[in-house]
Symmetry: C2
Subunit: 223 residues, 2 copies
C-alpha cells in the first residue's frame, strides 16, 4: 500500500485527468458549435469553462497543501511542481476552447468558417481533442513513448494551420477580411491548444527521464 | 542581515527583473522592427530570445534547488512557487515579442502594418513595454497599488485591439486579407503580452494579500 503522500499525488493526477476530460469535451463541443452554428452548444462551452477553472483551483490548493505539509524532495517535489504547471496549461486550453465558442456565438446565426474549410477545422478539432485526451492519460501513465507520439501529432496541426493560412491569402478567397480574420484567429487557437499539449508531454518526459526533449522547430515560421 | 534562503529568494527576484528587462527590450525592438521594416532588429529579437530562455532555465534550477534544500513553508513556499509561474509568464512574453519580430521579418522589405495603424501599434508596443517593466519591478517590490495600476493599463490595450479589429473590418480597409490577418495576429500578440502582465500582477497581489483579485471581463468579448 502506498503512503498517504503518494496516494494524494495520485489523487491529484486523477483530478488533472478529469480536468483534461472536461477540456477535451470543450474542444469537441466548441468545434461542433463553430461548424454547425449551434448557439446552445457555444453557450455551454462558455459557461462550462467555470468548472475547468474550479478544478484548477482545487488541484492548486491540494498541491500547495502537500508541498507545505509533506515537504517533498527530489522526484516527488518535481512531480508536484510539474502538476502546478500542467494544471495551468490545461486551464489555458480550456480558455482557448472558450475563445472558439465565443467566435461561434459572435457570428450566430451565421457560421464563422466557410464551407470549404469545414473539413480542415473538423480535423483540427479532432486532432486537438485527441491530443488533450492523450495529455490527460499521460499525466497518470507517464509513458515516454506515448508522450513522444503526442508530440509528433503537432506536425499535422502545424500543416493544417498552414493550409488555412494559404487558403485565406489565395486569390480565390471569397469571404472577405472578416472571414479571414476569424479563420486566422481560430487557426491560432487550435494551434495553441496543441502547443500546450506538447508542452505537457515535454514535462512528462522530463519527469521520467530527467531531460527535456528539444523544442520542435515550428512548421510555420511566421505566425 | 537576511538568512541565506531569503538572500537566495531576493537573488532569484533580481534575475526575474533582469528577465523582464530583456523581454521589455524585445517588445520595444520588435515593435520598432515591425514599424520601420528593420530586418537586423527583427533578427536580433529572434536570436535574442535564447537569452530569455536561458534565464528561465537558470531561475527554475535555482528555485528547484531552494525548494529541495530549504524545504520552505507557508509564505516562503508560496513565493517560490509563484516565482516558477512568473518565470514561465515572462518566457511566454518573450516568445510573443519574437512572433512580432517574425512577422516583421516575413514581410521585409515591406512593412506588415499599414501606415494608418502605425500610431496604434506604436502605442500598443509602448504600453506592452511599460507593463512588462512594471511587472519586473513588481516582482521585487511587491507593491499592491502598483500591481493594481498595472492591471488597469490592460483596459487601454483592449481598446487598442478593438480599434484594430474595427479598422480591418471597415469597408474602407485597403490592405486585403493578408494585411488584415497580419494585423489580427499582431493585435492578439500584444494583447497576450498584456494579459501575462496582468496575470503576474494578480500573483503579486495574491502573495501580499492572500487573495486573488477578480479577473477583468475583457473589453472584446469575441476574440
Amino acid at each position: 500500500m502506498r503512503d498517504s503522500f503518494h496516494q494524494q499525488l495520485e489523487h491529484i493526477s486523477e483530478e488533472l485527468t478529469a480536468m483534461a476530460r472536461l477540456v477535451e469535451l470543450a474542444v469537441t463541443r466548441s468545434t461542433d458549435a463553430l461548424l454547425t452554428g449551434n448557439l446552445t452548444l457555444a453557450e455551454q462551452v462558455i459557461s462550462g469553462d467555470a468548472s475547468v477553472d474550479a478544478l484548477q483551483k482545487l488541484v492548486e490548493d491540494e498541491a500547495f497543501e502537500q508541498l507545505a505539509l509533506q515537504q517533498p524532495v527530489a522526484s516527488d517535489l518535481r512531480a508536484l511542481v510539474a502538476t502546478l504547471r500542467m494544471v495551468a496549461e490545461l486551464e489555458r486550453m480550456g480558455d482557448l476552447a472558450e475563445h472558439v465558442a465565443k467566435i461561434a456565438r459572435l457570428r450566430y446565426p451565421d457560421i464563422a468558417v466557410p464551407r470549404e474549410l469545414h473539413d480542415t477545422f473538423r480535423r483540427m478539432g479532432r486532432l486537438a481533442a485527441t491530443m488533450v485526451r492523450m495529455s490527460g492519460l499521460n499525466v497518470i501513465e507517464r509513458d515516454v513513448a506515448a508522450a513522444r507520439e503526442l508530440m509528433s501529432l503537432d506536425d499535422e496541426m502545424d500543416q493544417l494551420r498552414m493550409s488555412l493560412f494559404r487558403a485565406t491569402v489565395d486569390s480565390s478567397w471569397q469571404h472577405g477580411v472578416e472571414g479571414a480574420v476569424d479563420v486566422a484567429l481560430l487557426g491560432r487557437y487550435y494551434e495553441r491548444i496543441a502547443d500546450h499539449c506538447v508542452s505537457l508531454a515535454r514535462r512528462v518526459i522530463y519527469l521520467v527521464t530527467g531531460d527535456y526533449p528539444p523544442v520542435e522547430v515550428p512548421a510555420i515560421p511566421t505566425h
